[in-house]
Symmetry: D2
Subunit: 147 residues, 4 copies
């Protein structure tokens, strides 16, 4: 596996987390401030890492940092205060030094997905304790890629 | 009940919410940034209002805003990324125009309270849709004061 | 001018704002949390709107909201606490209902641009007071498009 | 100087910083979210430390952390989006291990103080690189206490 050969994981169940919108997350437009959706994405992807491998805090203690390299997000409908929001995330690409998460963010009604709020893609790059790029540890890579 | 006569509610079960510390909530000291505890307090008190009365968003639709008038918080130990944190809140005083919430914020270990992180008090004042102070609506006051 | 015909403004001086990194903006990685760069972009684009047209708050009072429709950002190097950061923004596309801002975010050393931190593009859509898409007001459109 | 004997610095010019309210700092009440005032206080006190001593980042590199031990804040009037806000801070008490900053937060009109928004007090405790309480370094203490 090299940086020029992407490894596309097989489809499998995404990981989902639910959040309730906090007052602090709204702005004077009466909706969630756009940058705050990215915080929810972070909560979802660390949950995926925890379920598949280890708490992310353990990863950092081992000297592996996953830093955001780039991201894109599209907003479909606004989230509002006290909305129940579901964030689904899955790994859409793994390379030797990077891992890309995709996201679907939806509003729930009666615990069911009701309205699409946003879709996003966030690419992370592995850094060592010295803040320089490094390969993803083999066990992490296998855990994330495993079906 | 007047503004100069405080009504102290009878002791009763506080409302508790649990939050897991988000990466976004930490700072470079490696702990939760001090202002973010106040966001958790807000999540806890709106949960108390929801359980005892109505979702806070409904209250605002009725033209009642509860704005923070003053607060104090003491930090006992730092919260860290991915910690499970419990926030207990209860109403420590109600007056005709203000309601005061007290908070105990603790770190959990194995779902049990383990370490006291912070204690806080937040006093809210009722404002009308015109942003001017007003009395708490009778039904809200009764709901919050009821044992 | 229709939604399918983009109007590309002529090149002209971008607007620049400088910010100093706040402690609250860092995370435990010791760098600025990735979502916070988008707040700086917002500060820069409202400054551009203020210089070319009106304070954004006046725009909202007139019933025109500019909501973020989508964005992308690429991180080149991390910003750190107390860094002096320059955000340059310019309008890269205007259509009848949308306006797109591009950004270059750099670290300063001795008041000169030193290191590229990030580049970003944010597309905004005009909404009316009813939260529905609307055309950009003519005077705003002319002010933003004027060389 | 011991922990039980407070040293009250002589009165002298406070340090002032100006901030313009960011959209991200508002909430759906249309005013600045209450916890965000504490971020401005942090910007003001690190500016005071920079002017009197060293950039706070240098202090941390020397293994001295100033962590918030407790704080109180009273809100007098709301700050709104694009308001120009002045934060004045001064040291109201120094002890061997703690330093207390007081704050006045005002809205400006035509570059002059116009309306009192909030007053606050924040007490910081010195921690070493091991996160345990330590004495303030002598040179920092002298710099902060000097008239």
């Amino acid at each position: 596996m090299t940086d020029t050969t992407a490894f596309i994981p097989q489809p499998r169940s995404p990981v989902e987390i639910d959040v309730r919108v906090r007052y602090a997350e709204t702005d004077q437009m009466g909706v969630v401030y756009h940058a705050n959706y990215l915080v929810w994405c972070e909560v979802a992807r660390t949950e995926l890492i925890r379920q598949r491998f280890l708490p992310y805090s353990e990863l950092e203690k081992r000297g592996v940092i996953l830093a955001v390299a780039d991201l894109s997000i599209r907003y479909h409908a606004p989230a509002r205060y006290e909305d129940d929001v579901r964030v689904r995330t899955w790994i859409s690409e793994i390379r030797s030094r990077t891992v890309t998460f995709s996201y679907e963010i939806d509003r729930l009604a009666n615990s069911e997905v009701d309205v699409r709020l946003a879709t996003a893609t966030v690419r992370l790059v592995a850094l060592g304790a010295d803040s320089r790029p490094r390969k993803l540890p083999d066990d992490l890579l296998r855990a994330l890629a495993a079906d």
